[in-house]
Each structure stands twice: as structure tokens, then as C-alpha cells.
Amino acid sequence: MSDTAVLALEDGRIFRGRCVGMKAECYGEVVFNTGIAGYQEIFTDPSYSGQIVVLTNPQIGNYGANGEDNESARPFIEGLAVREFSEIASNWRSTGHAADFLSQQRIPIISEIDTRALVRHLRDQGSMRGVISSIETDTGRLVEKARSIPEMAGLDLASTVSTKQRYEWSRGVDACSPSELVGPAEETKYHVVAYDFGIKHNILRSLVQRGCKVTVVPSLTSAEDVLALKPDGVFLSNGPGDPEPLSEPIRNIRRLVGRTPIFGICLGHQVLGLTVGGKTFKLKFGHHGVNHPVRNERTGKVEITSQNHGFAVDPDSLDASHIELTHTNLNDHTLEGFRSRKDPLFCVQYHPEAAPGPHDSRYLFDEFVELMKKS
């Protein structure tokens, strides 16, 4: 049939389904996300660069796409695998169909597959490389292609998605409904320089909302160039790929430690882990979802967090005399955040900016502002 599509994994497992939207082929590491809502944010999160995303929610596309929920300038996922993709878009903010949104970037969608079986496979076998194709039908060839994709470990993707040019960001959060409790952005008091490894817009909006002027700089910007901008604080963003190959950013950031308050999220957290002498490792299938419990070790309270990472910082590799472990994942007890005992530096593995996900951890942006205030 003309509208068939195939998802082939490197271990030879094949899922046959239907092609939605444009006929295309894509390659990437196959990961699953367990969030129920928020597909548009996922599509546009640059951290998914190099990855094919499987959504566990079987009904995708229901609320269409809109101009406000993008986390970057365009979709970054390589491909999408779902159980069912909606024919219509139904929501008061919707301005278009979610499939068109992906098709414009030639991103293939495979639907009607047993996504639960696929997720169980990835859970048991670990994330692996795969291909979605609605062009090639020879599954043997597709498996070969999957095996020829570079492995995620060792891959520097952050530099490829990072902005090429420095820019300023000044938009805060706009309410999605007359009932949403979003005030106007606070008056600008601080200047934050944000390293872009694949930064999500809601991080920028969240900083602006708290009275920060943000200058976004390319991932390879030197420490001197950053300091020349006279920042009140430096932010290290989320992003795709393995943190280990980011040796140049790590060198730069090492020279910033102690000289300015630093806050890191996700890849930014991993980069900081490496900067302070720790090690990172690849998780079996990563954390991708919006329901992960994280305990704040300083308060004992649990936050439900938004997560999207395939690598983690090994807490045992950190020097306990310098580093305080501040956040722990309660599902698998991996490290979710730490701070320096002497320098103004802290970071979390998860996403306090949410988008998508719960707002439990927004306080971290306040803490960053607090840190800048004190410094």
C-alpha cells in the first residue's frame, strides 16, 4: 500500500505502520517519551536532535499546533512514532495541523504501530538506533541503515544546534488563557549570558519573567567574550547528545566558575559535572517524560519534574568536599542536581522551565536570581 511506513531498529526488530504527512526517511536514536500532553514542545526541543521520538500517549495531534508553544524556531526531532495521529485539530489556540507542522520540515511520522510493544522493547534492550521510512520497503536495507548511524555516545550535537550568532532575548511568558496567572515580566535588573547548547525558549521566557535581560551566545563562545558582556550570571542550557565531547565549552566554563553565578539545566548540568571533575555515563533508555519524582535533599520535598536526558552525572565521581548533591531521582536514584559548596554554581538534570511538564520546580529560577543578587 502507498501509505505504509516502517520503523526498523538496529537489532532487526521491525514495526510496520502507516505514514502520516510527508513521505520521508529519517535516522536517529529511538527514545520514548511518557508525557501525555506537550507534543509540540517535544517536537521543537533541540535536545531531541538526533533522535526519533516514540510517544506513549496513543492519541497525538488532537489539539493541533499553535504559534505559541514552540520551544525553538523549528521542530528538531528526526522522526515520530505514534499509535494514532489525529485527523483534526481541536483547540481554541490551534492554528494548524500538527502533522503539517512536521511535514514542513520533512520529518516523517509513522502511526498505527504497537507503540507499547516498542517501548517495552526499548526499556528492556535500551535505546537503540533506528530508521523510519515511507520510501524504502526493504526492511533488511533499513536495518543496515540503522546500524550505520553514528552512536549517540561520543556525539557532539550541541555545537550543531547552537546558535551561530549571539542574540538578545526579551520576551516573557504570555498567558494561554485569560485565566492563567501570569503577571507582566519584572523590571530588568540582571544580565544573564546564556550558553546555547540547544536552548528551550521557555528557559529564556522564565528568565525574562524574573527581571533578566538575556544574551544568548554560541556554545563555543570563550570565557573572555562572556565576561566582556559583564553578565550578572551565566546560564548553561539544555541540549542534545553526549556531554563528554564538549571539551571546549567545558574549558571555557571552568574559567567562569567562581567569577560569576552559574546555573545549568540538563546538558548544562552534565557539562558542569564534567567541569567540576565528575564523570558522565549513558543511561539505558534515559528519562523522557513529565512525571519523574525528584527529591530536593535540602528541603526533603518532592517535585514532579519534566525530564529529557540520555546521559547522567555519576554522583560518586564528584568530590563531596566541594560538591553538595541537592536533588535525587526517586525512581532510579540517579543524580538530579548539585551545587558547589564554595562557588556560586548550581544545576539540575531536569527541566524547571517545564514546557512540557509540571511547574513544581520553577523556584530554581528564583534561586538563580537570588544568587545573582547576593553576588
Binding site: F15, F32, T34, G35, I36, A37, G38, Q40, E41, T56, N57, P58, Q59, N62, Y63, N66, E68, D69, R83, E84, S86, E87, I88, S90, N91, W92, R93, I113, D114, T115, R116, A117, V119, R120, R123, C176, S177, P178, S179, E180, L181, G289, V290, N291, H292, P293, R295, G300, K301, V302, I304, L330, N331, A354, A355, P356, G357, P358, H359
Partner: protein, 1070 residues
């Protein structure tokens, strides 16, 4: 923060009888709470007046009180048991209201009992609509504009101000009783007056209408450390204007972006914190304007609710259990997730399927009630279904309802489409379907129904596919089409009908194409972690996760949605079956689709299949599990109708043979059996036309009882005193055919009716109880009060009953339970009906005697003998007097004639336990909501035949200080016996007559024994008036005597209580 060690003993208040708006879900939550607290080492004291519940099983609490849920009785229990704390949040609105009352009347302070779960301030803030609105506004959340009024004038003024329609919400009523929408000032006058009257505090909130807005609900949990999680989001298919309990609802929410969902989540958490619910589960309801996204908070329940039960079943996250643990100070992150074992309960469940809940209505039981849906809940029960997609789940849910009706074009009135789309009725889904086949677009239907286009589009897919199939035949249909049909959730039956084939032929056909069901797990985490609980649903997908074991296993078919005549009693039996199987070393597999029940809790059975109870679905499970036996006799009529078809497909049915079950329902063969055994039954005949029915009736002699064959809960039965009634019944009320004729029985007037539950192992019979009805003959057994042990039946007749029971049990080769209904007429015992299966009285008999009949029955079904159990022989003894009384939903159906008859209409039951029949009866009446008076006036009317006994009863009342009213004949006899009384006129004698006096509330109690055809209408009118004005009306002298004794007993012992455990221990010792 670990669990509290300063409290040891905790009181849990249940929700009482099943009523509309408060059903099995609180048995589920109460049972979970009991188990959870005991697991943590606390002692639990439970009180609930409903004997049909699992929670009142003596094994679930240290002390279980089946006593009236009033301050007086619960105070007595507290005084005796001295609990440290009271958990107020798992017993529904009843439990919550009673907890508040106990606190306000100082009982909790007096005995030093701490309220846990929700504090009194939080409950008040959440329940008082004005305080609630102020609280929401204070944290920046939007609410509909409103005003609280306590008089009609203010209501009218505000209505004019905000513009009609407006919503009326009386304060402190259950399930929205008395609420409504007023579309104009005239309606406002009527509705507002009624709402004011129904509110116990005479208060009504008039509110800006959010009719047609999208409706959502979030289930929230919070612990003492202020950790908060959302367990589940629910989106209503039906927009605002239809009570959530009457709405089709979907989990998770389908049409919200993450931004909008998070706004709602923030709102729900802020709401919980502001209201101050310290621990436990709550739900917050929102309405969203579909064009602007304006979001308002509608209400929140500071307790476990119907939707919490749904959310628990929808996600696999046990809200009530966790709520109980949080109430004793545990934190969410200290409690493990049972399903994944490795991760904590402190997370937000995510689901990779779609859940649909559909309500079950029974308007047909209440002629005169308009079948319209509004802000007051009318549904009796509900089903839930799980599918991989909304279409799949919707198709399954519709089938789970067992409406039995196949709507064809002829059933629809094309002229009514628009009206039916605009005004919600129980037939809404059918009319949407009909409109679509008539070419209405999704947009048009959306405009009329305000149902979100996304849902309508899904329905359209289903309809389009069915149309496509109708163009094919079983030979031309392709494998792809069949596969799509199955993935859309269409049943084999439905597909077969479209293709002009049969269900089983289609099943074979699709298997040829390799299309068969697989089973997926409900695991709280969308497969991110391994699941250790086999909680399964069917899907048409690639991979099956059932992983059946090699153990000996038995499947139990549940009873499906709650309905009148088939309710919680059967769930009780199914759960017991499961417990018994596990004790006997079998793997127990439960199949059911009712989310309110204990049976659908994932830890009740070894394995749970949340599936519709249809031949197709059960066969699918059997093919996967290959069970050693299937139990069909515990789930009421639903599994029984599957027994023979399953047997024909080679599925091993254990217990009584399905052929015997069928025999007992087959009029002719059963008649022959009775004749063989020389057991009398009322003379009877069958008819397949009005003419024939009249002829049969004439030959039997009036009055006659007319009913369809194969009945459940006495649907569409009538007692006819004349030919006109028979004629109109045959023409209007009943569907019949040559194969399924109408049954006509001679009606035994003034008979005493008796229910018997018995166990049989094939050789020996044990009678569980002989229950004497204390309502006049002709009232459906489910609507009758009855007493154990029997109060007035002479030993000779009891012996006959025992004798007949043993003979029938053996003749039908019963393995397990059976129920027989007898009538004693002029000293002669007749068999009315035999059901070789568990009956709705099984839990009542079990709790009265202390022997778990259902559990023993399962043993017998798998081959054990009665002699293997430590049981009395012959008949179980009852230590005290136990009265069971029915509870009716008439207050939900204004305009309906509340008269009792052969058609069952009660939704629930209560039990009263007493030293004397009188005391037990008085308690049961109190629990059922028609408390016997302490003083005042009694109206007495008895037939000539019963006059002597009547005098005796009248004297008792007179001695108790009651004023006596009587009809002329009775009055003369009373005066002659020296009993002072006032004469009341019969209806045909002039006015003011008895009915006028009843309506004028001159009587506090009515004793009116039926006198046959002449006074039939009179009696109906009196009874109707009594029902409406909530005056207890007794129709037999045994009940009247019991009432007099009960009133006397209460004067001596105002609130005597006893736990089942102590009662049973004493019984066994004796």
C-alpha cells in the same frame, strides 16, 4: 516523617446504602482504607449500615458495626470502642457529613477523637459554596459569578441580573439533589422553591451558567509534607450542563495542550492547598470556555469520590489506599508503587491507553420521569472500558452497558434529531450516530451538542467504517477491513451484523486472517518500568503481555454495571469467590467492567481483566488463559446469560450445570419438575397475545401476576386485578414472542413471602436462612424488608420449606448456591421462583449468621463437600434478629409514582440488628431513611380477617401513648375493645379522607394491610402520599407489631450497638 505512633485505633464511617450518587465506589474506597490501615498495624473500627458491602465483612476490621449512620448510634460506638481517630474522607458525602456532625455536636471532643484526612475547617471551606468561591478568588482562580440566597425573591432578582439560564445548587445535598437549570423566570420560581426546601440549611446558590463549556476534572493527592501529585485528568465528552456522574468521561484529557493542562494543574494544587486538605485524595472540577480558554473552578471534593474510584481503576494508582496511609502521617515518597514495586507512589501516573466511562440509566423503571440529563445525577451505575484508542474504548464501553438494544433506523424519529442533539438524554450517543448517518456534519453536531469536535470525529470514523462494512459481505470483506474494525473496537457481533453473518462465523473468519485479541497491562507508567500486577485489557495489537501462568486457575465473571436488581451484592459474592479460590490454592481471574467495585481492584484477584462481559471478550480471555473453570453463578444475570453459549464453545463452567440454570428459568420444564417433586406452585399459564393473556387470566382467576419470561429484578411485571390492566400491559408494557411468551400466574393475595438461600454440594444441603418478608405480597422481593430468623411463620411451614428446598437443590443438582422464593398462602407453601445461583441476599445472610456462604459455595464448586467445612447441619442459626430494608431513589425522580409493586425499584439496602425483631426493624427503618416515630399518631386499617391481631397491635401503640386513627370498620372494633380512636374517612367516603390527613401530616405512622381488589386503588394512594411525605407505612401486621416493639425497645435502650465480630463469636459459642 513516618506513620503516626500516637494513634492506634481508627474509626472509619462508610457511606450507607447504595443510592444514586453514592454507590459501590465507597465500598471500594472503604475496603481499601481498612486494608491499608491494618497493613500499617492500626486497629480499625468500621461502621456502615449497608450489609451488602465487602467492607462490612468481619475480616476487614477489628470491629465492624452494621448500625444506623446517625450521631446517636455512632456516638455509642465511639463510647464503646474509644478510637483515637476518625477517618472522614473515604465514606462519601454521608461519611463526611456525619463526621462533621459528630465534630459539631462535640462527640469527637468528648471522647478525644481526632479527625484525620480532612479537618473540619477544610471540609467546610470546600463544601460551603460561598466560602469556596471566596477562597478561590483569593488565590486568583476564576469562578462563575454567583449569589447565595435563602429566599425566592433574592433568587429571582439575581436571575434577572445575570440572565437566564442560571444554575441552582442547593447546599449540602447528595449528588446534586434538588439542583437544576432554570431557563426562565417561571422555571426559576418552581426550581428555586424546591431547591430551598431540599437543602437542609435552606440555602441555594444561584450561579452564572457555564452551560456548554468544556468540563475537566483532576484527581489530586497531598501528603502532610505538602507533596502533591495529580493522579489523573479526566475530560468530559458531555460539556457542562450534564452532571459528571451522568457524563461520558474520558481519561486522560484529550484536547488540552500542555500549557492549558499545566494551568489547570497549578489551579488544582493551589485549590487543595488553599482549602487546606492536609492529606489524601481530592478532586477539582474545572470548566473551560471553548473559544477563549477562560477557565473557572466549579467545585472540589475534600474526600475520595466517585471519580477517584474511576481514576484509580483508570491508572492503577490506588487512591483510597494511599489516602488512608497519608492520613496517618505517611509521605507519598515513603509508599511504594505496588505495580512497579521499585518506584515510589510519589509520581504522576501516565497512561498509554484511553479510558471511557459510560453511565447506566434506568429511566424505564420510573415511568413518569422525563428521561433528560441535567445537573442532577440520575444514573444508577457505570461501566469503564480501556482501549488503546478512544474509538476502541468507546466501542467497548457501549458494549459493556448491556443495554441489550440494537438501535435500528426504526427506533429513531428523524423529526427529533435536532431536539435530541440539543437536549441531552440517555440516548444521546445513539442520536449522534443517527444524525451522522443522516448526513449531519461534525460541525453541525458540535454546534448543537457542544461536544468537542475531536470526540465527534472519532465517532464519525466508527460510523464510516461500519457503513463501509455494510457494503461488503463475509466473503468480500478484506483482512485489512476486519483488522481495522477490531482495532476500532467493534464487536464480532457488530461486524457480523454489518456483513450479514453470525458472531461465531465472523470470529472464525477473522482468526483465519490471524486477527486476534492480545492483552496489555495497566501499569501506571506507560511501560517505562516492569509491571508486577497482571491488570489487563484487550487490544488488537502486536504484542501480548498476559503471560498466563501454568497454575490451576478459575475465572470469575462479574456482574457489570450496577443496576436495580443487580448491584453490589453480586460484587460481594464475586470478591468472596476470588478470596476463596486463592485460599484453596487456585489462581483467581476476575473479569468485570464496573470501575466502582472492589472486584475490579487489582489486588482482589490474582489476575484482573477489565473487559466487557460478552461472549467474545470472555472467549478471548479463555483462549489466552486456558482456565480450568469459569464461575457464572455469582455475578447475577449477566454471566448467567453467557453460561450456555460459553459451555457450547467448550469453556468449562464449574458449579451448577448451565442446563440446570436454564431449566429453572424455563417455565414448562420447571413446571414439570415441580409436578414430579409434588411441590406446588401458583397456577399459571403462558400467553403470546393480549387475547390469550386475558383468557389465561380468566381461567386462573384474578388477581394475576403478568411478566415477561427471563426477567431481571422484576422488570416490567404487573399485578392485574382486571382485564383492562392485562390488556394495556400486553399492548404497551412488554415485548413478547412465541419463543418468549408472557407468563401469567395466579397472584396469591395476602400471602407471606419467603426467600431462602441454600448451599448444596450435590448430596447434602445447608440452608443459609429462611427470610420472612415483612411487606405485603406482590412487592418485589428486592423491595421488601425481610427478617432473619423468620418472625411469624409456624414451625410446620418452616419444615415444609426446608424439605422443599432440599428436594429442589438435589433435583437441580446444585453445586454452590441457590435461592428459592416461596409464598405461604392460607397455610400452604408454594414455590414462586428458583434461582440456582447466588442471590442478592447472600451478603445479608452471611452477615446475619457469621458464615461466608459465597466462599463456601466456591469450595463446593471445585469439589469440596459441606462436610469438609466446620458447619452446623441443616440450617445456619441466627443469634439476633436481623432486618434488611430497601432504599429507594424516588427523590431523584420527581413526578414518579413511588408505589411499590412487582417491579424492583430500590437501589440499595440496609440492615438493622437487634435483640428483638422490633429493635432490628426500628434500626433498619432508621437506616433506610424512614425513622419510626417516638410519639404522635398512628393510622390503622386492617382487614376483617386480621382484626383480632390488629387490635393487639393497636393496643400496643395506644399503650405507648400514640393517638390512634382508624377507618370505620377497624375503629368500631377498636372501640368495642376499649381502645380510644378517631375515625378517618376512606377515599370513597368523602373528605377530608385518609389521604388528605396523610398529606396534612396528621399521622406519624401508617399501618395499612391490603384488602384486595376493592381497596387496591385506595391503598396505592395512601402509600404514595406516605412515601412523598416520608411517613413510614407498614403493610403487614408483623411489621406493625415489630414497629411497636421497636419503639418500646428504643425507649429502654436508645442506641444499643453490637459488632458483627462479637455477635458471631457469641453465635458460634452457642
Amino acid at each position: 516523617m513516618a506513620k503516626r505512633t500516637d494513634i492506634h485505633k481508627i474509626l472509619i464511617i462508610g457511606s450507607g446504602p447504595i443510592v444514586i450518587g453514592q454507590a459501590c465506589e465507597f465500598d471500594y474506597s472503604g475496603t481499601q482504607a481498612c486494608k491499608a490501615l491494618r497493613d500499617e498495624g492500626y486497629e480499625v473500627v468500621l461502621v456502615n449500615s449497608n450489609p451488602a458491602t465487602i467492607m462490612t465483612d468481619p475480616g476487614l476490621a477489628e470491629q465492624t458495626y452494621v448500625e444506623p449512620l446517625t450521631v446517636e448510634y455512632v456516638r455509642e460506638i465511639i463510647a464503646r470502642e474509644r478510637p483515637d481517630a476518625l477517618l472522614s474522607t473515604v465514606g462519601g458525602q454521608t461519611g463526611l457529613n456525619l463526621s462533621v456532625e459528630l465534630a459539631e455536636k462535640g462527640v469527637l471532643d468528648e471522647f478525644g477523637v481526632e479527625l484525620i484526612g480532612a479537618k473540619i475547617e477544610a471540609i467546610k471551606k470546600a463544601e460551603d459554596r460561598l466560602l469556596f468561591k471566596d477562597a478561590m478568588r483569593s488565590i486568583g482562580l476564576d469562578v462563575p459569578d454567583s449569589k447565595l440566597v435563602n429566599n425566592l425573591e433574592d433568587g429571582m432578582e439575581f436571575g434577572a441580573e445575570v440572565g437566564y439560564p442560571v444554575v441552582l445548587r442547593p447546599s449540602f445535598t447528595l449528588g446534586g439533589t434538588g439542583g437544576g437549570l432554570a431557563y426562565n423566570s417561571e422555571e426559576m420560581k418552581e426550581l428555586c422553591a424546591r431547591a430551598l426546601e431540599l437543602s437542609p440549611v435552606h440555602e441555594v446558590l444561584i450561579e452564572e451558567s457555564v452551560l456548554g463549556w468544556k468540563e475537566f476534572e483532576l484527581e489530586v493527592m497531598r501528603d502532610l509534607a505538602d507533596n502533591c501529585i495529580i493522579v489523573c485528568s479526566i475530560e468530559n465528552f458531555d460539556p457542562m450542563g450534564v452532571h459528571t456522574g451522568d457524563s461520558l468521561t474520558v481519561a486522560p484529557a484529550q484536547t488540552l495542550t500542555d500549557r492549558e493542562y499545566q494551568m489547570m494543574r497549578d489551579g488544582a494544587l493551589a485549590c487543595l492547598r488553599e482549602i487546606g486538605v492536609d492529606t489524601g485524595g481530592s478532586n477539582v472540577q474545572f470548566a473551560v470556555e471553548p473559544n477563549t480558554g477562560r477557565m473557572v473552578v466549579i467545585e472540589m471534593n475534600p474526600r475520595v469520590s466517585r471519580s477517584s474510584a474511576l481514576a484509580s481503576k483508570a491508572t492503577g494508582f490506588p487512591i483510597a489506599k494511599i489516602a488512608a496511609k497519608l492520613a496517618v502521617g505517611m509521605r507519598l515518597d515513603e509508599i511504594p508503587n505496588d505495580i512497579t514495586r521499585k518506584t515510589p507512589a510519589c509520581f504522576e501516573p501516565t497512561i498509554d491507553y484511553v479510558v471511557v466511562k459510560l453511565p447506566k440509566w434506568q429511566f424505564e423503571k420510573f415511568p413518569g420521569a422525563e428521561p433528560l440529563l441535567g445537573v442532577q445525577m440520575k444514573s444508577i451505575g457505570e461501566v469503564m472500558s480501556i482501549g488503546r484508542t478512544f474509538k476502541h474504548a468507546l466501542s467497548k464501553a457501549i458494549r459493556s452497558l448491556e443495554t441489550g438494544k440494537k438501535f435500528s433506523e426504526d427506533d429513531f424519529d428523524p423529526a427529533k434529531i435536532d431536539q435530541r442533539l440539543i437536549t441531552p438524554t440517555p440516548e444521546r450517543l445513539n442520536y449522534i450516530r443517527f444524525a451522522m448517518t443522516k448526513g449531519y456534519s461534525v460541525k453541525q453536531i458540535h454546534e448543537m451538542t457542544r461536544i468537542d469536535p475531536w470526540f465527534l470525529q472519532q465517532m464519525k470514523h466508527l460510523i464510516d467504517l461500519q457503513a463501509e462494512l455494510e457494503a461488503e459481505t463475509v466473503d468480500t470483506v478484506s483482512g485489512e477491513q476486519l483488522e481495522q474494525a477490531k482495532r476500532y473496537g467493534l464487536s464480532d457481533k457488530r461486524v457480523a451484523r454489518a456483513l450479514g453473518s453470525g458472531e461465531l462465523a465472523l470470529r472464525a473468519k477473522r482468526k483465519e486472517h490471524g486477527i486476534q485479541a492480545v492483552f496489555k497491562r495497566v501499569d501506571t507508567c506507560a511501560a517505562e518500568f516492569e509491571s508486577f500486577t497482571p491488570y489487563l485489557y484487550s487490544a488488537y495489537e502486536e504484542e501480548c503481555e498476559a503471560e498466563p501462568t501454568e497454575r490451576r486457575k478459575v475465572m470469575i465473571l462479574g456482574s457489570g454495571p450496577n443496576r436495580i436488581g443487580q448491584g453490589i451484592e453480586f460484587d460481594y459474592c464475586c470478591c468472596h469467590a476470588s478470596y476463596a479460590l486463592q485460599e484453596l490454592g487456585y489462581e483467581s481471574i476476575m473479569v468485570n467492567c464496573n470501575p466502582e467495585t472492589v472486584s475490579t481492584d487489582y489486588d482482589t484477584s490474582d489476575r484482573l481483566y477489565f473487559e466487557p462481559l460478552t461472549l467474545e471478550n470472555v472467549l478471548n480471555i479463555h483462549e489466552t488463559e486456558k482456565v480450568d473453570g469459569v464461575i457464572v453463578q455469582f455475578g447475577g444475570q449477566t454471566p448467567l446469560t453467557l453460561a450456555l453459549p460459553l459451555k457450547q464453545q467448550g469453556v468449562p463452567i464449574i458449579g451448577t450445570d448451565p442446563e440446570s440454570i436454564d431449566l429453572a428459568e424455563d417455565r414448562e420444564r420447571f413446571g414439570a419438575l415441580l409436578a414430579d417433586l409434588q411441590i406446588p406452585q401458583p397456577e399459571n399459564g403462558t400467553a403470546a397475545s393480549p387475547k390469550e393473556a386475558c383468557r389465561v387470566a380468566r381461567s386462573l382467576g384474578y388477581p394475576v401476576l403478568v411478566r415477561p419470561s427471563y426477567v431481571l429484578g422484576g422488570r416490567a411485571m404487573v399485578i392485574a386485578y382486571d382485564e383492562a390492566t392485562v390488556n394495556s400491559y400486553m399492548r404497551e408494557a412488554v415485548v413478547y414472542s412465541q419463543e418468549r411468551p408472557v407468563l401469567v400466574d395466579r397472584f396469591l393475595e395476602n400471602a407471606t413471602e419467603v426467600d431462602v438461600d441454600a448451599l448444596c454440594d450435590g448430596d447434602e444441603v445447608l440452608i443459609g436462612g429462611i427470610m420472612e418478608h415483612i411487606e405485603e405480597a406482590g412487592v418485589h422481593s428486592g423491595d421488601s424488608s425481610c427478617v432473619l430468623p423468620s418472625a411469624s411463620i409456624p414451625e410446620k411451614q418452616l419444615a415444609t420449606i426446608r424439605h422443599y428446598t432440599v428436594r429442589l437443590a438435589k433435583a437441580l443438582n446444585v453445586r454452590g448456591l441457590m435461592n428459592i422464593q416461596y409464598a405461604i398462602h392460607n397455610g400452604k407453601v408454594y414455590v414462586i421462583e428458583v434461582n440456582p445461583r447466588a442471590s442478592r441476599t447472600v451478603p445479608y445472610v452471611s452477615k446475619s449468621t457469621g458464615y461466608p456462604l459465597a466462599k463456601i459455595a466456591v469450595g463446593l464448586m471445585v469439589g469440596r463437600k459441606l462436610s469438609d467445612y466446620d458447619l452446623p447441619r441443616g440450617m445456619l442459626p441466627v443469634g439476633k434478629n436481623c432486618v434488611k430494608s430497601p432504599v429507594f431513589p424516588f427523590n431523584k425522580f420527581p413526578g414518579v409514582d413511588p408505589i411499590l409493586g412487582p417491579e424492583m425499584r430500590s437501589t440499595g439496602e440496609v440492615m438493622g440488628i437487634g435483640e428483638t425483631f422490633g429493635e432490628a426493624f426500628a434500626k433498619a427503618q432508621l437506616s433506610a431513611g424512614t425513622a419510626l416515630p417516638d410519639k404522635g399518631a398512628v393510622f390503622i386499617s386492617v382487614t376483617e380477617r386480621e382484626r383480632a391481631e390488629g387490635l393487639d397491635v393497636a393496643r400496643k401503640f395506644a399503650d405507648l401513648g400514640f393517638r390512634i386513627y382508624a377507618t370505620r370498620g377497624t375503629a368500631y372494633a377498636l372501640r368495642a375493645a376499649g381502645i380510644e380512636c378517631t375515625v378517618g374517612l376512606k377515599v370513597n367516603e368523602g373528605r377530608p379522607n385518609i389521604v388528605d390527613l396523610t398529606k396534612d401530616r396528621r399521622f406519624d405512622l401508617i399501618v395499612n394491610s391490603p384488602a384486595g381488589a376493592q381497596s387496591f386503588q385506595d391503598e396505592k394512594t395512601i402509600r404514595r402520599a406516605a412515601m412523598r411525605y416520608r411517613i413510614p407505612c407498614l403493610t403487614t401486621l408483623s411489621a406493625a407489631r415489630a414497629a411497636a416493639e421497636g419503639i418500646a425497645a428504643r425507649r429502654e435502650h436508645p442506641a444499643r450497638v453490637e459488632s458483627l465480630q462479637r455477635l458471631h463469636a457469641r453465635q458460634t459459642a452457642a
